[in-house]
Every structure is written in C-alpha cells, then in structure tokens.
C-alpha cells in the first residue's frame, strides 16, 4: 500500500502512539525492539491506523523513559540498531503507515557527551551549549514543571561549580538555543533522520527553548524564531514532512505555533481533561466552552487530539476548581496523582465501562483534529499505579493469554516492566488474541470506528458547527465540507436522553447512520427528535435525495 502523496496527509492521519520497548520483544531479552515492532505492523495495519508516533528510542540512561537523550544519531542498543530502524521504516511505509519520531529539542541527558564536555571546564568550546549561571536566581519567573521532584529550575554542577538550567528533571540540562551552533546541530540531527525517511517529528517541550529575564520563559518570540528557522529548512529540503508541537498551553498561547511558518500540528491539551470532565459531569459545557475559546487555525494546520498518552493526564490547563473536581472524581487514591495530573490509562479512568470508552473514542474520532490512540487503549489495557513515575501506563503490550502475555519469551523477571496481572486488566483477561475472536470486542469495535472515520475526509478536514440543544447532556455538532455534512450526536449521560435538534437549515435531508447505514426520517420543519441510550452516539451523513 503506497503512502498518500497529499502534502496534508497528517490531516487524515490516525496516529498510534507506541514506545518500541513496550510493543514486542523479538529477541527474548525482555525488552521490545524494532524487529518486534516490524513484526507487529500487520496488527496495526489491520487496526486501521496510518501513522505511528514512536517515543524516544535513542541511547539514553533512561531516567526519563528516553526523554533524556545521550546520542541523537543512534538507536538504543536494547531496541536494535540503525539498520533495524531502517528496515522497520521501510516495512511500515510498505504498509501505508507513516512514522513520526520524537525529537527532544529542549534538553539532553546529563550523560550526553555535549554536556560532559560542557561541564568539564568553563573554557570548554561546548560550555555555551547549555545555560550556565553563577547564581540560581535568574529567570525567577519560570514555573517549576515537575513539582513533585524538583525544587528549582537550576541545579548545581560540582564539576564546573556553576548552576545549570533545566526546565524538567535536573538530569536533563536545557540546551542553549541562543547559541547558533546548537541550532545548527539540532537541525543536522533532524536532517539525519529525515534523510532516512521519517515522516515527521513530534518536537518535545517546545515552549521552553529560550530563556529571558523577567519573563516566564515560555513561548518567547525568540523560541518562535528558532522554530521558524527549522520549519523553513524542513519545507525547503523535505517538503511533505511534518512538525508536531508538544506545547501544553492554552489554545490562545498555542495559536502562534500553529502557523504555516512553524508547526503543522499541535496537541490540544486543554480539550482532553474537559472531555473526561464533560463525561463525568454529564454536561457538554466544559467541552463546548474550550472549543469556543479555541482560535481558528490556518487551513494547512491541524489539532492533534488524544484521550491518553504516555504521560499523566495533565491538569495544568484547567482551573483550580476543575482540577479539584478531576482529582476527586478520577484519582481519589492519591497514588494515582503525579505532578499536576493523573497517571492512569483510559480504561481504568472510565471504570472499564465499555460504553464510555466507545463514546470517548467516538468524540476523539469526530471532533476537529487528528486522533491519537495510545497503544493498548484499543483493547482496554489497565495501569499499575504501584510502579513509579509514569511507568504504570507503560507496561508491556498484551498480545495473548500465554507466556508474558505474548510480549516476550524472556523470563518474566527479565521484562523491562512487570506485566499487568490482576483479574480485571491482566493479560489473561485483556489481550489482542482474545479480542480478535469476537466481532463485538473493543478491538473489533475500534477497527470499525477507525474504518468509518477513514471513509470520509470530513472528520480530518471539515468545518465544525455546534448545535446547542436545550438538553445539556447532548453534545451535537455538524462536520461539513463542500461535498458532505456529517451530524454527530453524543449522549454524555449515563441515562437515556431525548433531544430536539434544530436542523431546519437542512430541511429535506435524510439521515444515514454511518455504522449500520440505516436510514432515519427526513428532516422537516419541526425540531428533529432523537433518543439516545446511555453514552450512546450517532454519526449521520446528511443526504439530499
């Protein structure tokens, strides 16, 4: 299957996020690898996704799950080598699956040779590759992101006897983007991977690239300048490739990044917690309000939507009242909380309720943007809050009910992480093989919804118009393009609901339900009455016949 030639391919993408380490172990060492991932591409193709987002796979001391990179031009030996990666990339492309990889621009590991050189002496040529200071009082306006572990954004280096700047863990010193040599080298690294064939980068921690006194050191104009420089080079040398911004910001602050001269895509962080909130409150208000506040973006840009990912369910972009509510409703057990968020997977967050998982995925697939599925969520995998940091949502993929859940032939003790074993979410209860056997399993349902989503471009590219029925438990919107209109009606309530929709602008149209292709009554002069079961949703194509 050939890759689409469309330069806006990312608008039609269904992204599957996976860490190589977690997916499939081909050599029995207990750690997933590129050969294993390549072997499982059939599964992903069958699932229907068309883009893979790989989390960091570079050599790393793995103190932050690979986001602490020690060599930007190699593959961590546990996952294979560059040839393995090239082979995986080729096979993925042959299956029509594009590959986006992680690029951590903001910082390296303190084990990276650059930092080792930089700290070796104040006169070292790489000294200026990082941000050094005699005091720890500069840039006091910058908040601390990892509140649970870090007390300051400065760390003392006993070797060169100065402080170095770090927005994340202290073992992740920030690179100095005021230094042209750093910018040049980071582009050269991206070029290295682009020449190999990767289709895009998820650029990590974008807002923090540059620091300035008397600011919060986020979203600074100088940071935008760095991004624009990279984007210009990308468009010039590798047209059709893509940048995705990881910037956990309010939509208005994020908007400048989503520009023809900067990013193609950006995560819509504030929407995600509000989807959970709307579901729990049984009220569409949190969802519609944040989307009302979301500015329009250029035609060539796209939001990335997600329900869960490898990090905690971040609650930075909510009000204090909303955060308290989310904690109380979704993380009553304090061990589920991390930093300003909740470290849980989709299924446990939704009490393993199939109807709610379907509804949330239905919204994910039908709201404006490109959806991302976090590995394992398509089968309803659980989490292990007893594992530290965010490792509880990074346990091995559960392929079958056999040895190590089909993930690895190694001894269980040798696995990079314990498997899920409990009777609800353990690999014997939740796995790909068992769900493949039934047409009505969550996995089969996910395949169906992805197929329906991909049957029309309107979800990825169309406009959105919210309907505001008086029943606030109903979230209804029209997705439209020049050639078609889709009506989406979601019941956020745990009880059946009746709703009257004002569709008189579409009088005369027949509604065709997209999953079963059944015909519903023609729209007339009166409000269109629908009833929906608990957490039920409909996607209707409007047909004028």
């Amino acid at each position: 299957m050939a890759l689409s030639e469309d330069a806006l391919w990312y608008k039609d993408a269904i992204i599957y996020q996976v860490h190589v380490r977690t997916f499939y172990d081909s050599n029995g060492d207990g750690i997933g690898d590129f050969r294993g991932l390549a072997q499982r591409l059939d599964y992903l193709q069958e699932l229907g996704i068309n883009t893979l987002w790989l989390m960091p796979f570079f050599p790393s001391p793995l103190r932050d799950d690979g986001y602490d990179i020690a060599d930007y031009r190699a593959v961590h030996s546990s996952y294979g080598n560059l040839d393995d990666f090239r082979n995986f990339l080729r096979v993925a492309h042959e299956r029509g699956i594009r590959v986006i990889m992680e690029m951590v621009l903001n910082h390296s590991s303190d084990q990276h040779p650059w930092f080792q050189e930089s700290r070796s002496s104040r006169e070292n040529p790489r000294r200026d590759w990082y941000v050094w200071s005699d005091t720890d009082t500069r840039y006091r306006g910058a908040r601390i992101i990892f509140l649970d572990t870090e007390l300051s954004n400065w760390a003392w280096d006993p070797v060169s006897k100065q402080y170095y700047w770090h927005r994340f863990f202290s073992h992740q010193p920030d690179l100095n983007y005021d230094n042209p040599a750093v910018r040049e080298e980071m582009w050269n690294i991206m070029r290295f991977w682009l020449e190999m064939g990767v289709d895009g980068f998820r650029l990590d921690a974008v807002p923090y690239l540059v620091e300035r006194e008397n600011t919060n050191c986020e979203n600074l104009p100088e940071t935008h300048t760095v991004i624009r420089d990279f984007r210009a080079r990308l468009d010039h040398e590798f047209p059709g490739r893509m940048f995705l911004a990881e910037a956990n910001q309010w939509p208005a602050d994020l908007r400048p990044y989503l520009d023809a001269a900067e990013f193609h895509m950006a995560f819509h962080f504030p929407l995600m917690p509000r989807m959970f909130m709307g579901l729990k409150l049984e009220d569409r208000k949190p969802i519609t309000e944040i989307l009302q506040q979301t500015p329009a973006i250029p035609e060539a840009c796209q939001w990335c939507l997600f329900l869960r990912n490898h990090d905690e369910l971040t609650l930075e972009m909510v009000t204090d009242m909303e955060r308290d509510y989310m904690y109380d409703e979704f993380a009553r057990d304090k061990s589920m909380r991390l930093n300003l968020g909740i470290r849980r997977r989709l299924a446990p967050l939704l009490d393993n309720d199939r109807r709610r998982m379907e509804l949330m995925n239905g919204m994910l697939m039908s709201l404006p943007g490109t959806p991302i599925i976090y590995y394992g969520d398509e089968i309803g995998m659980g989490d292990n809050v007893n594992l530290g940091d965010r490792n509880g949502v990074r346990t091995p993929m559960q392929w079958d009910g056999g040895w190590n859940g089909g993930f690895s032939s190694a001894d269980p003790e040798a696995l990079y992480s314990p498997l899920m074993l409990n009777p609800v979410y353990g690999f014997q209860a939740v796995n790909v093989a068992s769900q493949k056997r039934f047409d009505h399993s969550l996995l089969s349902w996910m395949k169906r919804i992805i197929k329906v989503r991909r049957s029309t471009a309107v979800f990825g590219r169309g406009s959105i118009e919210f309907l505001y029925p008086a029943n606030h438990r109903i979230l209804a919107y029209l997705r439209g393009s020049a050639s078609e209109t889709i009506l989406v009606v979601n019941n956020l309530s745990s009880a059946a609901q009746a709703v009257a929709l004002d569709l008189k602008a579409y009088k005369g149209n027949i509604l065709v339900e997209l999953f079963g292709r059944n015909i519903f009554p023609r729209i007339g002069d009166m409000p269109y009455l629908l009833t929906l079961g608990p957490y039920q949703f409909y996607w209707f194509r409007l047909r004028k016949i």
């Binding site: 409150l281 569409r284 208000k285 309000e289 505001y468 029925p469 029943n471 606030h472 009257a500």
Partner: protein, 422 residues
Amino acid sequence: MAEESILTDDFLRELMNVGEVDILVGVRTYNDEKTIGQVVQALRSGLLQFFPRQRAVIINADGGSRDATQDLVRAASISDLHHVANLQTLRTLHCISTQYPGGQASGNAFYSILAAADLLHPSMIAVISGHSTQIEPEWMARLLQPICRDNFDLVSPVYRRHKFDGLLVRNLVYPMGHALYSQFVKEPRPSEFALSGALATHFLGLDIWSQEAGRTGAGMLLPIAAITGGFKPAQIFLGSRERVQHSESGLVPAMRQTVGTLFWSMEKNFPVWSGAASLPPIPTIGGEPQITLEPLRINRKRLFEMFRTGVAELEPVLQSILRPSTLSELQRLAAIPEEQFRFEDNLWARAVYEFAVAYHKAVINRDHIIQALAPLYRGKTFTFLIENRDSSAEKVESNVERLCLTFERLKPYLLELWDGVK
C-alpha cells in the same frame, strides 16, 4: 388537581432538557420583576458557591405575572450559550419558568414545584419566594446543608422578629400544633424552606391537592405531614425578618390558611395526634431566633372593640360552636371594662379546641367557623399586647411557652369532645 393540567407541554420539554438533578430550587412569583432579579442572582451565587458540583435547577412557578418576572428568571441560566462574565462554573445551570393554572394560590405553585421534582428526582428541594428581598447566597447552604449533611427532611426557617410580629402563630397555631403533635415548627407558613426528595415524594402523594386546604395551605400542611409521616424536621436561623403590616381585612384569609388548615388536618391525622408520643423538640441550627423590642404602635383599643362587638353580634353562631359555659365566660369577659380585661390562657385554649371540634363536626359552614374565631383571636391578641407591653424577650418567650403548656394540659379535653356529643 391533575398532574397533566399543571405540567404544560412546554414546561415538560424544559424539564426533559434539565434531566435528573441533585438540587431543585423552586421560586414562587407573581409580578415580582422588582425583586426577582436579586433573588435569582442570590440563589445562583449560593448554588455555585456551596454546591458547585451538584446538578441543580432553578424552577420558577409563576402565578400569571404580566411583567418581566419570567424573563428575568430565564436570563439567569448558565450554559455554553449563556456565559456569565467572571463566573466559573463546572456545570450548566438551567433556570426555567412556568405559569401554573388556577391563580396565585401558593399551593398551586408548590404543587408545580413538587410535580417537577417528581420528574427530576432531586435529593434536596428549596422553595423560595420571589419577593424575598433579604435573601443572601448563604441561604442556599443554610437551607440545604442540613438535608445533605445531617439527613434532615424538612428545614423550616426561624427569623429574628419583633415581639408583636406573627401573633396568630404565637397565640394559636404554634401552641396548638405543638400540643397536637408534641413538636411543631416556629414558622408554620414560611416564605422559604427546604425539604428532602423523600419528603417531597410523600407530600406530593397526599390526597390534599384537589382540596381547598391544599391550594391555600400547602405550606402549613408540609410540617404537619413531615411530623406525622415520621420525617426529620429541623429549623434554621435565617436572620431578620421585616415586619409586614397586616390589614384587618387580611386576618380572616390568614386564619383560613393557617388555623383552617390546622383544623382540617386534624381530621386525617387523628390517629397520630390522638396518641402522639412525646417527641424531642425540633433542633434549631445556626443560632436561636431573637425577639426585637422596638416600640411599635398598635391600635389595641380597636382590637378590644372588635372582640366585644364580635362576641355580641356572633352569639347565635358561637352558640352552635362553643359549650355554654365557655360562651358565657366569653360574654362575661366582653362585658368588663378594657382596663380589667384579661383573656386567660385556659379559656382561650378551651375555646380554640371547641372551635376545632365544631370544625370537625361541621356544625355550621366551616368557613363561618373560622370567621367566628377572628373576634376571639383579637381579644386574645389584646391581652397578649397588654401582657407583653414592657416584657423582655425572655418574658415574651416564657409567656408563649406557658400558653403551649396550657394547650397541652387541655388536650384530653379536646379528645373528650372530639368524638363526644356536644
């Protein structure tokens, strides 16, 4: 009153949109455009401040306003279409309004609110008057928290009142209600109160709504239903209450709604009040009501004259109601000079009980019975005003308490008359 007649299709549609709620706040209005805005703002603030996570709705039961009352209520909604600047909310707050049929009777408004509650299943219901100008957001917490936190079923208010305010309640309704049921609320016909969903369901199911007592005295019947139904009542201090000047012509309607309703309820509740076990006093939360003592001009002379005239003119009626000994005592009392006049508690309680029994036996038209009680009440009021002219707050309270004891002591007399032959 049939349920279909009160829930119009439009109102029903609005209720469908609201769906199940945790809190329902009912607001009774009639041409209240001058005050309703302030009331609804206070209610909304109270709900958002004290119950931000609960599903709530404000339902206006309107008696046929011709002003902007209903529009002002609806405008207080909060939704993704109705944003309110500087107001953070988690949820949609519906504010809806309906006009109930059958005029302005408070019972009809209450019935509309309870019917809506029956469909929306709130666990807490507050009922507020559209002209409660002293309302504060904290009232939501004070009225509703005893229900959600302490599992009370009825939260009835008490106020700081003038010692000569609420005399009908002090001299008749409270002492008699207390004697009948061994506990009673201090404000038996409040403008604002709260009840649990369970009590609302029970009360809505009572066979009262098609009758006059239900239409005009539902507020009065609610505490009685709570006590007789084994629900947990509480009283909550809501601050000061402005004194309302009642006209003389308003006395009889007020007596119909209170005394008439109390007498009417005795029919159905005879098994309860005839054998009422001793119940603990109703707890008062948030401070005891205080009595204010500012000087007040009341035309006592007129009260006395109306008593004398009434006893004389209504003699044939009173003969059919009262025992001869009681009537002759009243006539003797009516003959003595104003400065020596004193309507003793004992005589008053006996007379009231005889009126209750006459009402029970319907010896004459029941409305005439209530009307005939009015001059006697004026006489008792005259004595109350004289007795308490210079009394301290404590003394006023102790006098009311003494009257309660008298009513209680004479309860066997009431029981004896109830099934006896006059």
